[in-house]
């Protein structure tokens, strides 16, 4: 893998420590100065009858820093607050993980266009696993129905409502490609989106200011914005969550596919790959010479979408 642009989205090593002490004292000063009443301003907008405890937690959440600058202690504190908030809000015991990337792992994805039949099980599994907003029907994955003679999903049909498979059609799945040279990361004015060492491009939802510049910068339409307050029925919420993954989002922030970070860092497959009934989706560690993804890359004819843009996606298409 080409790592030439890795440092782009990453903070210099000495940075967090140096900042921490000044940040801390600043935050302390702020919270002291803050009248309890102004908590309403921060939590405002969600209108419903928030208890004093909920307001207090949200107030503390408001002043937390970017995930990458947090110490493990700070991460634990915010996780405790988020879990408590989920308990107060939905009466649910969610578990928010801050699990670090695994050693010597770089994730990659390959999509078999001769196998996929367009069943959309991947889309459904993704929506459930990642707690995607049901109201706006947010989906990270899109399947395009293609005519023979095409290889560019933009010329395919992204909204097909009929029984599949269809003779003489094939399908191409598109989602965030976790580019090595990601234009979205470069665009973000607050470093709220970056690439993790295992190659996953993530968003710190609490740090995102919602300017949507990353959405404009993405050539693959890989990002989704929460235009309103996202809604997931209580009984359908996936409780095993990750801070950078499927935890509940809020209105006004960007989100995207995270290769199911909450699953993959546990050694599982992303929900889409697991759900696929045709075995079209291959996911694995690019650094492991014995992995299936490496086999595909070495033995199949592979290509990538909009390669001319130099984004270096870690998502390949291949044929049997």
């Amino acid at each position: 893998m080409d790592n030439r642009n890795k440092e782009e989205g990453q903070i210099k090593k000495d940075d967090p420590i140096k900042r921490k002490s000044t940040r801390r004292s600043f935050m302390k000063g702020l919270s002291l100065a803050a009248a309890a009443g102004s908590a309403g301003l921060v939590t405002g907008g969600c209108g419903d009858s928030a208890t004093a405890e909920e307001m207090g937690l949200k107030w503390e959440e408001y002043f937390k820093t970017n995930y990458r600058l947090m110490t493990q202690e700070e991460k634990d504190e915010t996780v405790a607050r988020l879990e408590k908030l989920a308990k107060l809000r939905y009466d649910l015991d969610v578990k928010v993980s801050t699990q670090e990337p695994l050693e010597r792992v770089l994730y990659g994805y390959a999509f078999n266009i001769s196998r996929c039949k367009g069943y959309m099980d991947c889309v459904e599994a993704c929506v459930k696993e990642n707690n995607l907003d049901r109201k706006s029907k947010t989906q990270y994955i899109r399947l395009f129905e293609m005519e023979p003679g095409q290889l560019d999903p933009t010329s395919g049909e992204g909204k097909y409502f009929h029984e599949v498979p269809v003779d003489n059609k094939f399908y191409m799945g598109v989602q965030c490609f976790h580019c090595e040279n990601a234009p979205c990361i470069k665009a973000c004015p607050t470093k709220a989106t970056w690439q993790e060492p295992d190659g996953i491009v993530v968003v710190d939802y609490d740090w995102c200011i919602g300017c949507r510049y990353c959405l404009a910068a993405c050539p693959y339409w890989g990002r989704r914005f929460n235009w309103g307050e996202p809604e997931v029925p209580r009984e359908e919420i996936t409780k095993k969550q990750h801070y950078l993954g499927n935890r509940m989002r809020m209105k006004g922030v960007m989100e995207k596919c995270t290769f199911c970070i909450q699953r993959t860092r546990d050694g599982k497959l992303p929900a889409c790959a697991e759900a696929c009934p045709t075995g079209s989706r291959v996911f694995g560690n690019l650094l492991d010479p014995d992995s299936e993804i490496r086999f595909v890359l070495e033995n199949k004819k592979v290509f990538r979408f909009k390669e001319e843009l130099g984004t270096d996606p870690k998502f390949w298409y291949f044929m049997d």
Partner: protein, 410 residues
């Protein structure tokens, strides 16, 4: 009414406030109208703040709309103050010297609008502190948006502090000391160009959007700004000439007209060059232009707008180029309005919306701003007009009094 020679900050501020808010019945109606429109905008924004940007017409496909369109256009208006500063200070043009302050007032009003448009477009406006270097995390120099935050705020500071210093001196019947402000004047000339180039780079630097990813975008931004901005300033000057005691020399209008014509012609040449490139060899990347000018797959909401814009652009340019009225106010107002509206459409939503259509996945949708969005936009425009007004009016008073004082002294 005249105050004592030793006037402190409090006297300065209260005098300025008095001069900016007192006026005849027409002025009072104007003020009340602005306040009403601002109030409606405020209520609309409260609604948007509670519900989220879902109350706008934007979507994941057209993810920037009326707000960012207006932002882009008014950056140009702000930058145009340089078209007065440059002749006044570099070419030492005496006529322009007296109206530089008006250009700067217009620039501050426009910048306030720009910053407000950015703020209302944000999903998390309360998290804006994440952008402040030191306590937030500023993705500089990588993100062009970070650059834009810097240059816009810097330009706002320059255009507020320099006139403030000059007015403060004149208020106390003193001549401002050259070395204390001239360096900043020259800095602001470069800075004006930079705010518009950086704003163009915001779009120009995105290979994901072929319609914007075009090296002509930055220069064209400048040309259209230097036509539309002076057109706005000309309208303000006419309003001042007709309604106040402040003398605006007829020569100024001739000179402004010349500036506008040159810039507008360059803008039209570049527009033609872009249109030629898009349509002579029609490629996959020309679909956005096709959507804008002729419609695509049955979606053609922008088509009437862009042709109106081109018509107004050409009409305004011709009116300025061949002026049979020899600088009559009513004629100039019509010409300036044509050019201003034409560029507002073309460089506002005529530039922003087609960048998103078709989407990177080939989808074509139309964008229609919601009522909430329109009210918020109008509210911001009214705020900008108010800011410009309450800055320019006391400035003119101070300059007039200083002129009187000098005349008496000599």
């Amino acid at each position: 009414m005249t105050t004592s020679p030793n006037k402190g900050i409090a006297a300065f501020l209260s005098d300025c406030l008095r001069w900016s808010l007192t006026g005849g019945p027409a002025f009072r109606i104007y003020l009340v109208t602005l306040f009403v429109v601002m109030g409606v905008g405020g209520v609309a924004y409260f609604h948007q703040f509670r519900e989220g940007l879902i109350v706008t017409g934007m979507s994941n496909i057209v993810s920037w709309g009326l707000y960012i369109s207006n932002f882009t256009f008014f950056v140009g208006v702000a930058a145009a103050a340089v078209m007065l500063i440059l002749p006044a200070y570099v070419y030492k043009d005496k006529d322009f010297h007296g109206i530089v302050i008006i250009g700067e007032g217009v620039a501050v009003g426009a910048l306030v609008m720009c910053l407000m448009f950015i703020t209302v477009d944000m999903g998390g406006p309360l998290k804006v502190w994440h952008l402040i270097p030191g306590i937030g995390l500023f993705n500089w120099p990588s993100s062009i948006l970070a650059w834009d935050v810097l240059v816009l705020n810097g330009y706002l500071a320059l255009n507020t502090l320099v006139p403030l210093y000059i007015l403060w001196c004149n208020y106390h019947n003193r001549e401002p000391v050259g070395w204390k402000y001239r360096p900043f004047i020259f800095l602001s000339i470069f800075w004006a160009v930079s705010i518009h180039m950086v704003t163009a780079f915001l779009y120009q630097g995105l290979p994901a959007r072929p319609f914007w990813n075009n090296p002509l975008l930055g220069p064209r931004f400048l040309a259209s700004a230097f036509a539309a901005g002076p057109a706005v300033i000309m309208m303000v000057l006419i309003a001042i000439k007709e309604n106040t005691a402040y003398q605006v020399d007829g020569k100024i209008f001739l000179k402004l007209k010349r500036i506008i014509v040159v810039a507008a012609v360059i803008n039209l040449i570049m527009l033609f060059s872009e249109v030629f490139k898009e349509f002579y060899t029609f490629t996959h990347h020309s679909l956005s232009a096709q959507y804008l000018f002729f419609g695509l797959e049955g979606h053609n909401s922008l088509v009437p707008w862009i042709w109106t814009a081109i018509f107004l652009n050409i009409l305004g340019t011709l009116m300025f180029a061949f002026d049979p009225s020899k600088g009559k106010s009513s004629y100039l107002v019509v010409a300036a309005t044509c050019l201003f509206s034409g560029i507002w459409i073309e460089k506002g939503f005529g530039l922003i919306i087609p960048g998103f259509v078709p989407s990177p996945m080939g989808e074509v949708v139309d964008y229609f701003p919601s009522l909430t969005e329109i009210f918020i936009t109008l509210g911001i425009l009214a705020t900008g007009a108010l800011v410009g007004t309450i800055l320019i009016r006391p400035a003119l008073q101070i300059l007039l009094r200083y002129k009187d004082f000098m005349a008496r002294d000599v």
